[in-house]
Subunit: 157 residues, 2 copies
Amino acid sequence: MDDEATRARQELGLLLRRLNVELDAVGQRFADVHELNRTDVRALVAIMDAARRGEALTAGRLGEAVDLRSASVTALVDRLERAGHVRRVRDPEDRRRVGLEMSESAMAAGAEHFGGLARDLVAAMEDYSDEELAVVRRWLEDMTAVITRHPRAEPPA
Amino acid sequence: MDDEATRARQELGLLLRRLNVELDAVGQRFADVHELNRTDVRALVAIMDAARRGEALTAGRLGEAVDLRSASVTALVDRLERAGHVRRVRDPEDRRRVGLEMSESAMAAGAEHFGGLARDLVAAMEDYSDEELAVVRRWLEDMTAVITRHPRAEPPA
DNA sequence: GATAATGTCTCGACGATCGAGATAATCGAC
DNA sequence: GTCGATTATCTCGATCGTCGAGACATTATC
């Protein structure tokens, strides 16, 4: 592969990084508008995703999803509950467990912000042919695979 | 556009989100390995990018890059300097300014971690034709444009 | 029923960030 | 040149998110 070709591929990597930054900024904006921190947004997204899959996340599983210890999860859920974004619901089956349900308003706010973006993205893909999108899809899957496999740790000397 | 076509496009959006998550995880891994927090990593990346452009970032411009107030930048640079990742260099032209230079070791660690990923990504693009990559590039630019334009604020009722 | 395992919460501590204001250097008007 | 305004960074005290250790209640195991 000649230099020119390599450079073109490196540029795609840079484009991907730029896209990543902008996508993070979308979450940051949601946080700013609703006076939340980034962890709170990640948590709401996790709860929302779970809800879409039909499951109600428990406090513990939320902690795993956002990588927080139990003490922090308690504080996190306290914040979200105080802000009216989620409700704690004791599981009647296992009364140690605390299920988390999003409020209507939080659901709506999330749909507005992130759903709106999703709509805009789909709209921007209108003019692409099925063949083109298939290429993009394959590329995204390949890049994701590479990124996911990227070394989890390099001993720091 | 029929339902099937819309669904295919929505899936690309989800793929993009997943890629975003994995890409963030790469930075998180770097942070874990080198005992830094996410802000520190963002700062090092910003300094590194600036260095690659041939400029030495000042404390103030770093603060803009990572969106931190001056008090926080001082603490941030203190941490990085204490860890041996950067040096403060007073600008002889304007002695109010503090330039930031990355240490060799930090430069090497960054190149190892992020440069390694860049190489792997380029390698994974080997088998794509120029035409295919052109499609991907156009798509990335279009999506980035949509994401960047996404509303900066929606008054929360 | 006693004991272990599980899920969440409380408490105290630490660290990242911030606003306000101090300090020092440069610029501009005269 | 001098003096006030501006710029760049730093110091200090306060706030908030996160954590480790451990308490508490509930469920599982024997």
